[in-house]
C-alpha cells in the first residue's frame, strides 16, 4: 500500500465525440490532507471525482483510493469513501433522521452502531433539533449540512465533496467551511474537494491543484502558489490624453528595482512588484517625469485568481460564456446524469 491515500497516474476520460473531460491527470493526496481542485465549470473536476468514486470508468490511466484500484477493486473503494455530490441529493420526503438511517443501511452498519452514529453526525452539523422534520422544510444550508452528515455516517477514510458551497449564502458557506475543517481535525479524515470559488480553495485547502480543460496546471499550497507570482499586483491606467507617453512611462517603470513583470490587460497594465506600498509613489514619480498622467491605480496582494491567470492565461471568473465550455458542460452532464 502506498503512502498516498489517493494516487492517480495519467488518468484520462474521453467522452464520445472525442471530448477530453480529463486529460492525463496525475496527482497524489496525503492522508489527513484537505486537497482541492480549483477550476471553472466544465474543467473536469466532477468527472475526476466520479472516476475516483467508481461511478465512471476511466478511458485510460489508473488510480488508487485507500490503496485499492478504482477499476479492479470497486467494492473495497466504495466501502472506504464517502461522497457528497454538488446536487445535495437528500430525499425531501423523508426526515433528516430517516435520510441518515437509509444512508447508514446502504453502508451495512449494524443497528446499534447506526443509532449512535446518527446522533453523533447530527450533533456535528447542528441538526439535532430538526432531525425529525421532513427535509422539504429545510433551508438550502440545512440540506447541505444533512448531505455532508450523510457522507460521514460510515466514517469513511476519504470524503469526496463536489462543490460544497455551490449556491449558498456567505454565512452558510463560512459554516460549511468550519464543518469541513472540524472533520479533518476530529475525525482525521482525508478530504478531496472541488470548487470554482478561489476564496474557498484558499481558506480551506492545504494543497490545491489548478485544473483547466481537463489538465492540472499546477499543484501547491495556496500561499506558496500566491508567492510564486512574485509580489503584489499593481493595476494602473493612464489618462487618454497622455496614452501616447505610456510606453515611455512603462519603460521607466520597468527600470525600478522592485518591478518583476508588466503585463498589459484590457485598457490597463498589471504590474507585479515585490514591495507594493513603496513602489506606488515611485511609479507616479517616473510616470510624471515623462509626461504621462496616471488616471487610476490599485494595489492588491495576489489571490488564487491571479495564480489561475498566470497558469492558464485567463481569468477564473470570466468563464461564463464560451460556447465550447457550454458544449463540454452539457455533454458531460448528459453523460453523467442521464
Amino acid at each position: 500500500m502506498s503512502a498516498s491515500i489517493i494516487k492517480t497516474e495519467t488518468l484520462t476520460k474521453i467522452f464520445s465525440g472525442n471530448i477530453k473531460a480529463v486529460d492525463n491527470v496525475s496527482f497524489e493526496v496525503e492522508e489527513e490532507e484537505i486537497y482541492g481542485f480549483l477550476g471553472p465549470n466544465g474543467s473536469g473536476k466532477t468527472t475526476t471525482i466520479l472516476m475516483l468514486i467508481t461511478l465512471l470508468k476511466p478511458t485510460s490511466g489508473r488510480a488508487t483510493v485507500c490503496g485499492f484500484d478504482i477499476t479492479k477493486e470497486q467494492a473495497k473503494v466504495r466501502s472506504c469513501i464517502g461522497y457528497v455530490s454538488q446536487d445535495t441529493a437528500v430525499d425531501e420526503n423523508l426526515t433528516g433522521r430517516e435520510n441518515l438511517l437509509l444512508q447508514g443501511r446502504f453502508y451495512h452498519l449494524p443497528k446499534e452502531v447506526l443509532e449512535k452514529r446518527i446522533d453523533e453526525v447530527l450533533e456535528m452539523v447542528d441538526l439535532t433539533d430538526r432531525a425529525n422534520s421532513l427535509v422539504s422544510t429545510y433551508s438550502g444550508g440545512m440540506r447541505k449540512r444533512l448531505d455532508i452528515a450523510e457522507g460521514l455516517i460510515h466514517r469513511p477514510r476519504v470524503l469526496f465533496v463536489d462543490e460544497p458551497t455551490l449556491g449558498l449564502d456567505i454565512q452558510t458557506r463560512l459554516k460549511i467551511w468550519e464543518y469541513i475543517q472540524r472533520l479533518r481535525e476530529e475525525a482525521h479524515m482525508t478530504i478531496f474537494l472541488t470548487t470554482h470559488y478561489m476564496d474557498e480553495a484558499d481558506k480551506l485547502c492545504d494543497r490545491i491543484g489548478i485544473i483547466d480543460y481537463g489538465q492540472i496546471k499546477v499543484v501547491g499550497e495556496p500561499n506558496e502558489l500566491k508567492s510564486q507570482i512574485g509580489g503584489d499586483i499593481i493595476t494602473l491606467r493612464f489618462t487618454n490624453e497622455t496614452n501616447s507617453y505610456a510606453n515611455q512611462a512603462l519603460a521607466e517603470i520597468k527600470k525600478l528595482a522592485a518591478i518583476e513583470n508588466i503585463v498589459p490587460t484590457k485598457e490597463s497594465f498589471s504590474v507585479v512588484a515585490k514591495d507594493g506600498e513603496t513602489t506606488v509613489p515611485k511609479i507616479f514619480e517616473v510616470a510624471g517625469k515623462v509626461g504621462a498622467t496616471i488616471e487610476s491605480i490599485s494595489l492588491k496582494r495576489p489571490t488564487l485568481d491571479d495564480v489561475f491567470m498566470a497558469h492558464t492565461g485567463r481569468e477564473l471568473r470570466e468563464e461564463t460564456g464560451s460556447k465550447e465550455d457550454l458544449m463540454r458542460e452539457r455533454i458531460r452532464m448528459r453523460r453523467v446524469r442521464m
Binding site: 466504495r78 446536487d87 441529493a89 437509509l102 446502504f106 453502508y107 451495512h108 450523510e150 442521464m338
Partner: protein, 255 residues
C-alpha cells in the same frame, strides 16, 4: 444476505415516500372507483351477452378495474429511477457499497406492494357496490397476489424504458402510450368472445388478458385450478423475464 438487505432498504425508502403523499394514494384509487361507478352501471345492459353465470356487468368489470389500477401503478417504478438520476440520489446510492441489482429490484417490489394496497382498496369499494367474490376472503388474497405479479411486470417494463429514455416527460408519454392499448386490447372491460377476430388474436397474446381471466375465475366461478394455474404460470414466467431484462438494462445504463 446483504443483497436482500439492500433490496429491502431501497424498497423501504419508496414505501416511506409513498406514505407521505396521501394525495397520491387518494388519486390513484379515485379514478378506478369512478370507472366502476359510471361504466359499471352504464354497461349493465350487456350483462346477458357475457355468458352464463354472470349476474351483473359490475361483477364482470371489477377484476378488470383492479388490474387496470395495478397497470397504471406499475409506471412509477421507472419514473422514480429517472427522478433519482436527475436529483443525484442515484449516484449517491451507487457510491455506496450496495448491490447494483438491488436498486431496480427494490423499486419494482415497492411499486408492487403499493399497488397491492390500491388493489385491496378498489376491491373493497367494488364489494361495497355489490360485487360478490365467489371464493371469499382467500379469493381476495389470491386476486391481490395475481395483481401484484402484473405490477412487477409493468414496473419492470417502465424501469427498462427508464434505463434507456432518461427524461420523465418522455417516459410518462411512452408508458401511457403502452398502457392504454394494453388495457383496451384485453378482456378487461369487454368479453373476448364478442370482439372481431383480429382483436381476439391480440387479446390472446395480451398478458393483461391472462391476468384478468384467472382473477375472474376466482371472483365469479370459484377455485377452478385448471383454468387458473396455466395463466398465472404464464404471466409469472413473463414477469421474471422482464424483471431480468430491466435489471440488466439498468446495470448497463450505469456502467
Amino acid at each position: 444476505m446483504s443483497v436482500l438487505g439492500d433490496i429491502w432498504n431501497v424498497c423501504w425508502r419508496e414505501l416511506k415516500r409513498f406514505r407521505r403523499q396521501p394525495a397520491r394514494i387518494f388519486m390513484s384509487i379515485a379514478q378506478p372507483i369512478i370507472w366502476l361507478a359510471l361504466l359499471g352501471n352504464m354497461m349493465q345492459a350487456i350483462t346477458p351477452m357475457l355468458g352464463s353465470g354472470i349476474k351483473s356487468y359490475l361483477d364482470y368489470m371489477a377484476p378488470g378495474v383492479v388490474v387496470m389500477t395495478t397497470l397504471f401503478g406499475g409506471v412509477f417504478g421507472g419514473l422514480s429511477i429517472v427522478w433519482d438520476r436527475r436529483l443525484g440520489f442515484l449516484n449517491k446510492m451507487l457510491a455506496a457499497p450496495i448491490s447494483r441489482s438491488a436498486i431496480p429490484i427494490g423499486k419494482m417490489i415497492a411499486s408492487s406492494l403499493i399497488s397491492s394496497l390500491q388493489a385491496t382498496l378498489i376491491l373493497c369499494a367494488a364489494i361495497v357496490m355489490g360485487v360478490n367474490v365467489a371464493t371469499g376472503p382467500l379469493g381476495i388474497v389470491a386476486v391481490i397476489l395475481i395483481a401484484m405479479i402484473l405490477c412487477l411486470m409493468l414496473s419492470g417494463i417502465s424501469l427498462a424504458l427508464g434505463a434507456v429514455i432518461k427524461t420523465h416527460e418522455t417516459l410518462m408519454v411512452v408508458m401511457n402510450f403502452l398502457t392504454m392499448p394494453l388495457m383496451f386490447t384485453s378482456n378487461a372491460l369487454f368479453p373476448k368472445e364478442l370482439m372481431p377476430s383480429w382483436l381476439q388474436t391480440i387479446a390472446d397474446w395480451n398478458p393483461i388478458t391472462h391476468t384478468i381471466t384467472p382473477i375472474r375465475t376466482i371472483t365469479i366461478t370459484g377455485w377452478e385450478w385448471a383454468s387458473i394455474l396455466p395463466d398465472v404460470a404464464k404471466i409469472a414466467a413473463l414477469t421474471l423475464v422482464i424483471m431480468g431484462i430491466a435489471t440488466m438494462l439498468f446495470r448497463r445504463s450505469i456502467s
